[in-house]
Symmetry: C2
Subunit: 171 residues, 2 copies
DNA sequence: CTTGGAAAGTCAACAAGGCTGACATAATGT
DNA sequence: ACATTATGTCAGCCTTGTTGACTTTCCAAG
């Protein structure tokens, strides 16, 4: 389990990694091709609603944190307010998202998915989870753990906190 | 090493995975945030050249397979020839890519990076490799192996062959 | 040798979704 | 009172994707 070296994938013995440019290049392409697969299923669904990935992202994070503010969403998504606003306006107009004026601070708008919004969210995330689940099952528990460890290291530190916000303990 | 369960990440004992929707959602967000980090460094460099990610992708795969044809590139990148052509034209006009008419089949164009093109390629891939290397080192060899296993499972089968083409043994 | 079809290039038009800049409004905090 | 913050909005621009139509070049089969 430690001394076999199939196809240049496995690295070395103890903790020193032999990272050739070639191996790094393979990691880069893995990210590229996998991300395409990762987005493929939701993209197909979104076409039927004539929405794009930007709408999906907004829906995802509103669903994750109901009542989140526009500003919070902006810092997660890393786009301009004009870009986000265009997307949110469409979702509100179409009745998928509700925007409630804040009670404590009336400048803020708190965002929620409506019933309709939740329905689309479920369709999108179910498709994406199915692929993720299949990949996780085929890869096995240790691989899943490694997958998450590497991805977390790849994030910008600012984003890492948004990621960790969703830790299981939080609920 | 097998029975500890830090922060809901590690799964279970033998080979049956407890994959809650919550854990899958975390995997989904990991992909989202990590991909942003993954592209951040090259994106910054590309701005100086007023190129975009599409140019980066073309440059990457031409560098990986010098002499590749337009058609082959199309099937890897999964865009329309019109989209790719726009990008290639810019790169050829700017002297980063050379397009040679095929010798056997003169309809085909074989693509190569010029010296200038190779210089930009090195700058882009070095930035991207640096982040990948740092992530791999911080995560450790086992995590790297798992990372690759999961990502490969996440790809569409059609793409998996393009990924595997780059196996070490191939050269 | 003719002809069908594949490979490539090109033009036009369009849409999504980024961006900047400028400006308006309302509420908050000092 | 005043500066700041949160949000929304208008206008315009860019990249990168799309479709559809059309041409040129060339290989290969009839």
């Amino acid at each position: 389990m430690a001394d076999r070296s199939p196809a240049g994938v496995v690295i070395s013995g103890e903790s020193l990694l032999f990272l050739t440019d070639e191996q790094l290049r393979r990691g880069i392409e893995a990210m590229f091709f996998a991300y395409r697969g990762f987005t493929a299923d939701p993209d197909r669904i979104l076409q039927d609603y004539s929405y794009g990935r930007a709408h999906h992202r907004a829906i995802h994070f509103i669903n994750r944190s109901p009542g989140t503010t526009v500003n919070n969403l902006l810092s997660i998504l890393g786009v301009t307010k004009q870009s986000l606003n265009r997307v949110l306006r469409a979702l509100v107009d179409d009745g998928l998202v509700e925007s409630r004026v804040g009670t404590r601070d009336k400048r803020e708008r708190h965002l929620f998915l409506t019933e309709t919004g939740q329905t689309l969210e479920r369709a999108l995330s179910e498709a994406q989870r199915n692929r993720m689940r299949a990949a996780f099952r085929a890869a096995g528990p240790d691989a899943v753990s490694g997958f998450r460890t590497v991805l977390e290291q790849m994030m910008d530190p600012d984003m890492r906190k948004h990621y960790q916000d969703g830790t299981d303990g939080a609920k």
